[in-house]
């Protein structure tokens, strides 16, 4: 939390006290709902393959009661680091924008990392298109500028100024400890692009297999 205090959040876990303990970070915003089932099914396969998996709700996300407008990337990074310590994670898997808040020192993987500015501009564009349907004229850039000053609601999410500024200005940096996993390796069409949430068992199996192989599990 910004004050330095902590708060409890929900965490979905498969815990059998095994050696490999994977912290899984969902994509942020709209892609979280599009990818949730896919990622959870991947965690199920990893569990069956001998990997403990833990997916925390970041503050303001999923079941969290914390206000979304008060969140920031730095706050989410702290929350992810606290979750990693709590579950004694040995590795991390970030999916899409989830990679942006993954603990940098924890070894692991970045599944199709996305630029912070792309995340923001896509949400601002969606808001621009919705506004036009309501006969209001505002551009994505105007919405972002407004958000940097006073916060803004984009595609249903309330953004405080800190989060807008962080997304607008953060460079795309990936920890050297997080090895990339590309969609090409996983195969199939990217589920985060779909208009409706989807599930592809073959992709879940492939993503889990890549991690199992890299962990050198039998």
């Amino acid at each position: 939390m910004p004050s330095g205090a902590t708060a409890d959040e929900m965490l979905l876990g498969f815990d059998r006290k095994r050696d490999h303990r994977l912290l899984v970070l969902m994509p942020l915003f709209d892609e979280a709902s599009k990818m949730r089932r896919q990622i959870v099914e991947t965690m199920r396969i990893l569990d069956q393959s001998g990997v403990d998996c833990f997916c925390p709700d970041l503050p303001g996300c999923n079941e969290s009661l914390a206000p979304h407008a008060k969140q920031s990337l730095s706050g989410w990074r702290d929350a992810a680091a606290n979750a990693a310590a709590h579950v004694q994670a040995t590795h991390v898997l970030g999916a899409r924008s989830g990679c942006l808040v993954a603990p940098a020192e924890l070894p692991g993987w970045a599944y199709e990392l996305v630029k912070p500015s792309s995340v923001l501009s896509r949400l601002a564009r969606a808001e621009q298109i919705s506004a036009r349907e309501a006969n209001e004229t505002v551009t994505a850039n105007e919405l972002i500028a407004r958000g940097c000053e006073n916060g803004v609601t984009l595609a249903g999410w309330s953004f405080g100024p800190d989060l807008v500024n962080e997304l607008a200005t953060s460079e795309l940096t990936s920890s050297p400890h997080h090895l990339p996993i590309t969609q090409e390796e996983v195969g199939g069409s990217p589920l985060w692009l779909r208009a409706e949430p989807g599930f592809d068992p073959a992709q879940a199996k492939a993503l889990a297999a890549i991690i199992v192989e890299r962990l050198e599990l039998p």
């Binding site: 709209d30 896509r122 564009r125 969606a126 036009r132 985060w192 779909r194 208009a195």
Partner: protein, 100 residues
């Protein structure tokens, strides 16, 4: 790609490459199969005709077009008309690749 008698390297993707790329993006966004997107013609209705193609899906479509076609879509470009039909979207993508 072979160019026969061409004397200069092409500076932008050909019409067929843009068409193929655009259909592939729509296939991903709308979760359609190859034959369904192959059946799209210039008059096939998009935004306002397909309920799943909401504002968020369109925003994702634009981002993918920028990435895969190496174009920049300005805020002012985002108007309803070019999204209404497949033909409109294809013409827009072609114009943008010439511009870039």
């Amino acid at each position: 790609m072979t160019a026969g008698t061409a004397t200069a390297e092409p500076t932008e993707p050909s019409r067929s490459v843009i068409d193929t790329t655009l259909r592939a993006i729509l296939r991903d966004v709308l979760a359609l199969d190859e034959s369904q997107v192959e059946a799209f013609d210039a008059d096939t209705g998009l935004f306002g005709h397909l309920p799943e193609l909401d504002s968020m899906a369109v925003a994702g479509l634009f981002t993918e077009m920028e990435d895969r076609l190496d174009i920049v879509i300005d805020d002012d470009d985002v108007d309803g008309e070019m999204l209404e039909t497949y033909g409109g979207l294809l013409a827009f993508a072609e114009a943008k690749t010439v511009e870039s």
